[in-house]
């Protein structure tokens, strides 16, 4: 016997999460497009001569980029469906980004202004995933 979730009882997706999903899908599609373009360009002998890459290598890179984009889209869809695992993955990436930016802020003098902005973006992602209202209910259903 299968049970179906009552749509009326399902918590609404927070707006912030929707924003992250849209950004994730768009980002994934863009990366996929880049992967497809790279695959198509593997036939371009002029480009191959310029980049000193072989046809197989360029095709491989294109497929890898396509895969990364696909994973991005899949993760964004997972986030839209309220997967706590995907939320953890997003948080992990944002945390690593914060750690790297903090490291750069404290050790590299020239990136301070850019670094502060770079710190704000992943912090905002974290807030949308864990700090914004109703996120806990949406991901813990």
């Amino acid at each position: 016997m299968t049970t179906t979730e009552d749509p009326a009882r399902r918590p609404r997706r927070p707006v912030g999460v929707t924003v992250l999903v849209v950004i994730g899908v768009v980002q994934g599609l863009v990366v996929m497009t880049v992967g497809v373009v790279l695959g198509l360009l593997s036939e371009d002998s002029a480009l191959l001569a310029e980049t000193t890459l072989t046809r197989g290598a360029l095709l491989g890179i294109g497929l890898a980029v396509l895969g990364v984009g696909l994973v991005g889209v899949v993760l964004a869809v997972g986030l839209a469906r309220g997967s706590d695992l995907v939320r953890s993955l997003y948080a992990g990436i944002a945390t690593l980004e914060i750690a790297a930016t903090t490291f750069g802020l404290l050790t590299i003098r020239d990136i301070r202004t850019a670094g502060i902005v770079g710190l704000a973006l992943p912090a905002a992602v974290l807030w949308l995933l864990y700090g914004a209202p109703n996120t806990a209910e949406f991901f813990h259903r």
């Binding site: 706590d84 953890s88 948080a91 944002a94 945390t95 690593l96 980004e97 914060i98 750690a99 790297a100 930016t101 903090t102 490291f103 750069g104 802020l105 404290l106 050790t107 003098r109 301070r112 992943p122 912090a123 974290l126 807030w127 995933l129 864990y130 700090g131 813990h140």
Partner: protein, 536 residues
């Protein structure tokens, strides 16, 4: 012939030496082997190391902090993985910040600590702006919030502008607290206070246990406040002494006699109302504080006016650019603040404890108050505003140091009981915040002044080097003068036979050496050499 026996105080038998005491300043030697005493000695040792090598301390503390942050971050990651409930926004954010900051402090502790200090300063300034803006929007702007935000903004600005100096200061203060805690742990009987096992509470516990010196406080009040039936007479005496001290100080400055200036310091009674203000701040007595401040303000005005008057009536002018007594007082730095803090603390200690009151004249000499004020008057009278303002800054430095150090020492020696601070918490906090804000402003001005002086000194050394190199290359030419014009142009006068070579290069090098946008002008005097023949 034998020397006569030295005189002996009556009542002390001639054959009596110190008793054989198996203790160190009242602490039995056996107690020095207790865990508490050993910990105290260790703290003293650490404090000594910090004070001896403050720059290395920064690095060691930075690395230790880095390790602690990394350990925290890793532990937080483990807990977050094991327990979903621990994955909150602040916790996850702190993991990222902890990992990044910890790694940075471990890899490059010196630069990271400075950068972290600057970032903290930026956060404080941002916090102050947000706090003030929020209060203004909600129409809840009051004096307390403005002073709090002002203090935060000022503190943040100082952290951004002078991270190195403030880190060193903070390290030194921490070393002082460690040393004090160590001494308390060594010289208080073991097991006397179980609450005092922790570092901070040990010091606070010691302060709380200070004897309530009500009798000393009563005597001190009589000394510091002009109250009761004789208040008018005391105030008149204060004014008379201020005038005398100012005249002596001004004359000492004019004739460049340090001994005369020191005489004026010993006569000047200005420390009394300032110490009165410090005691009032600690006790939460706003009316006494206002009255003490107004008496001090009157004394200040009188001293400046006396200095100006003497400058106007004396036939001998004071050259503010060469007079050594003026020059010694117009460019204060943080070193002067350190001296003033120590002297202010000593002054409060000597005033609060009857058994050491003989030290007060020394304190008066160390923390000169009237001479800088008379220099202000002498300089302003001549229109030398910059020099006068420098001397005023020195006076403010000394005054603020007396207020802050004096107030702290009054608490530490028990003149201000801690329960009184609790009772009058709001008043004491308001007074302390006000004093600290003024203190921070003075520190900022001193740091700026010190920075300007250091830059000027560097520029002077650079110019000297350029000119020496040039005259070594062109031995026929001499540098006969150097001047700084009112518009900021540096003028260098050369003399030698004919037009000197390489003037363009010299001007370029001098412009680099003065290290600002100031114009550099080089002039030369064509010297004709006449050599006498060795004839008959």
């Amino acid at each position: 012939m034998t020397d006569p026996e030295p005189p002996v105080a009556p009542g002390i038998p001639l054959n009596e030496d110190m008793s054989e005491d198996d203790s160190l300043l009242g602490v039995p030697f056996s107690a020095l082997l207790s865990v508490r005493a050993i910990r105290g000695i260790a703290l003293l040792g650490i404090a000594l190391l910090i004070l001896l090598w403050p720059d290395r301390t920064d690095r060691v503390v930075g690395r230790l902090l880095g390790i602690a942050l990394l350990v925290y971050a890793v532990a937080a990651v483990v807990m977050a993985v094991r327990d979903r409930g621990r994955r909150t926004f602040w916790r996850v954010l702190s993991i990222g910040l902890g990992l990044g900051a910890g790694a940075a402090l471990l890899v490059d502790p010196a630069d990271s600590v400075v950068a972290a200090t600057r970032l903290t300063g930026g956060l404080l300034v941002a916090g102050a702006v947000v706090d003030l803006a929020t209060a203004a929007l909600r129409r809840r702007l009051d004096a307390w919030r403005v002073s709090r935000s002002g203090g935060l903004a000022l503190g943040g600005t100082l952290l951004i502008a002078y991270p190195d100096a403030l880190l060193t200061t903070a390290t030194s203060v921490a070393a002082g607290v460690l040393a004090a805690t160590g001494l308390i742990q060594v010289f208080t009987p073991s097991g006397a206070d179980r609450d005092a096992e922790r570092l901070g509470s040990s010091l606070l516990g010691w302060v709380r246990r200070r004897p309530d010196t009500t009798e000393d406080r009563s005597t001190l009040q009589q000394k510091l406040y002009f109250e009761g039936p004789g208040s008018a007479v005391r105030f008149a005496r204060f004014l008379a002494l201020m005038v005398f001290a100012s005249i002596i100080a001004a004359m000492g400055v004019v004739v460049e006699s340090t001994a005369v200036v020191i005489g004026a310091m010993l006569i000047a009674p200005l420390m009394v109302p300032l110490m009165g203000t410090a005691l009032s701040a600690g006790m939460g007595w706003p009316r006494r504080m206002r009255r003490s401040l107004s008496i001090a303000g009157t004394g200040m005005t009188l001293s400046i006016a006396t200095g100006a008057l003497i400058g106007a009536v004396l036939p001998r002018t004071v050259d503010v650019t060469t007079n050594t007594e003026v020059l010694a007082r117009i460019a204060p730095t943080t070193v002067d603040l350190a001296i003033a803090v120590a002297a202010g603390a000593a002054g409060a200690y000597a005033l609060g404890r009857r058994d050491v009151s003989d030290s007060l004249p020394g304190v008066a000499v160390a923390i000169a108050l009237v001479p800088p004020l008379t220099v202000v008057g002498l300089c302003w009278q001549q229109g030398a505003w910059q020099q006068g303002n420098g001397a005023l800054l020195l006076f403010l430095t000394n005054a603020v140091a007396i207020l802050l150090a004096g107030g702290s020492v009054f608490v530490l020696i028990g003149v201000v009981p801690t329960n009184r601070i609790s009772e009058a918490q709001e008043r004491v906090t308001t007074a302390a915040v006000g004093l600290l804000a003024v203190g921070a402003l003075v520190v900022l001005l001193l740091l700026l002044n010190g920075s300007n002086l250091a830059q000027a000194e560097l520029a002077r050394a650079g110019v000297d080097e350029v000119l020496t190199d040039w005259t070594n290359e062109h031995e026929d030419f001499l540098v006969v003068g150097r001047r700084l014009l009112d518009d900021g142009t540096y003028v260098f006068d050369l003399a030698g036979p004919g037009r000197p070579p390489e003037l363009g290069t010299l001007v370029g090098d001098l412009e680099d050496a003065v290290a600002d946008d100031a114009e550099v002008r080089v002039t030369w005097v064509d010297q004709e050499q006449v050599t006498g023949g060795g004839g008959d």
